[in-house]
């Protein structure tokens, strides 16, 4: 597998280092010639000096035969253009962009970037999972189907305490996957009763997330 990494900041540096170590064929494209020299000393001949948003640079890098192009510069506009050029001019099958402004994740997907990685969102979601009094946590977004996997804890004052699954009205297209009760994992049926302290794992449409939160947590 041939992987082109664009942007030799900290992310690009460690990414290249790891990929080389794992035996992939990697090329790192970096604008700053001084950085290129240092990296070449460390990684060997896998560093190229140039602007990854220039088609000539991508052509010289052999983008036409690359399986993946990963753009991890600190500028969203550069990462977008590099991925789009890779896709449209060089027919690269998979493009991955670092997104610095969380608001751009959705935009990049609409504009054809396959995968976006947003350090801000990653750190935020880690914080959410770590904060004990958060009652509703977004665990995973499944982007193709616009689905989300969420975890909610049933508070003692919640109106669903003591009611059964069949008793409550879940938002449209929402399924309960599991209820974690102490060390037990319960696969819920209509007769399963909710108890205070239950951890509910559910899958839902992203637009129904708020409604589900209201039902399970704040009602």
């Amino acid at each position: 597998m041939y992987i082109i990494v664009v942007g030799g900041g900290k992310v690009g540096y460690y990414l290249t280092k790891t990929l080389v170590h794992e035996g992939y064929e990697v090329l790192l494209i970096e604008k700053n010639p001084a950085k290129c020299e240092i990296y070449t000393e460390r990684f060997g001949a896998v560093v190229m000096n140039g602007d990854g948003a220039e088609a000539s640079t991508l052509a010289a890098a052999g983008a036409g035969r690359a399986d993946v192009v990963i753009s991890v510069t600190g500028h969203d506009e550069d990462n977008l253009v590099i991925c789009q050029l890779a896709r449209h001019r060089f027919k690269v099958k998979r493009t991955i962009a670092r997104v610095n402004n969380p608001k751009n994740e959705e935009l990049f997907r609409r504009l054809g970037v396959d995968v976006t990685v947003n350090p801000t969102s990653v750190i935020l979601s880690l914080i959410e999972q770590q904060i004990p009094d958060r009652h509703f946590v977004h665990l995973l977004a499944l982007r193709h189907a616009k689905l989300a996997v969420v975890e909610a804890s049933v508070a003692p004052e919640s109106s669903i305490c003591g009611r059964t699954v069949a008793d409550i009205r879940l938002p449209n297209e929402t399924s309960l996957i599991a209820i974690l009760r102490g060390s037990d994992v319960i696969i819920p049926t209509g007769q399963t009763q909710f108890l205070a302290g239950d951890e509910i794992i559910a899958i839902t449409r992203r637009e129904s997330e708020e409604q589900l939160r209201d039902l399970l947590v704040t009602d």
């Binding site: 088609a55 608001k103 935009l107």
Partner: protein, 139 residues
């Protein structure tokens, strides 16, 4: 423009952006100009009646404060090709502005995005061919 007044957003207040802004403003159109550097607005005429917004054109919130939601036309004329490409795509896909024009200096990038359906202007090829036509005219 057939005499009707339009709402226009311009991203980039360099020589070109400021000139487009001043021309449209004088003709009575509603103009908003966005630039990351407030000093760029010195290029606008004293009597400029439009909005001048400090911020980056690749941020939807900045564009909203420039009234992009009511815009009929959008010009991306910063000095960065990639910024122009991204802001133009935001205007086109997110805000569905009917007329979106982006300046792209790099002819290869210009060609790529023109094929992808963006209305582009490439100063490099345009100016080069004007220069060349001056010699050809002498022959």
């Amino acid at each position: 423009m057939d005499g009707t007044l339009v709402n226009v957003v311009i991203v980039g207040c360099g020589r070109v952006g400021a000139r487009i802004a001043a021309t449209l403003d004088q003709a009575g159109h509603r103009v908003s100009v966005v630039d990351i550097n407030s000093a760029s607005f010195r290029r606008l005429p004293q009597d400029f009646a439009g909005k001048a917004i400090v911020g980056t054109g690749i941020d939807e919130d900045v564009l909203k404060s420039a009234d992009i939601e009511d815009a009929d036309a959008f010009f991306a004329v910063t000095n960065g090709d990639n910024t122009n490409i991204m802001t133009a795509q935001i205007a086109q896909t997110v805000f569905e502005i009917p007329t979106v024009v982006a300046r792209i200096y790099d002819p290869v990038r210009e060609d790529t995005y023109r094929r992808m359906g963006i209305h582009t202007v490439c100063p490099t090829t345009t100016i080069a061919s004007l220069m060349l036509s001056a010699i050809q005219g002498n022959n």
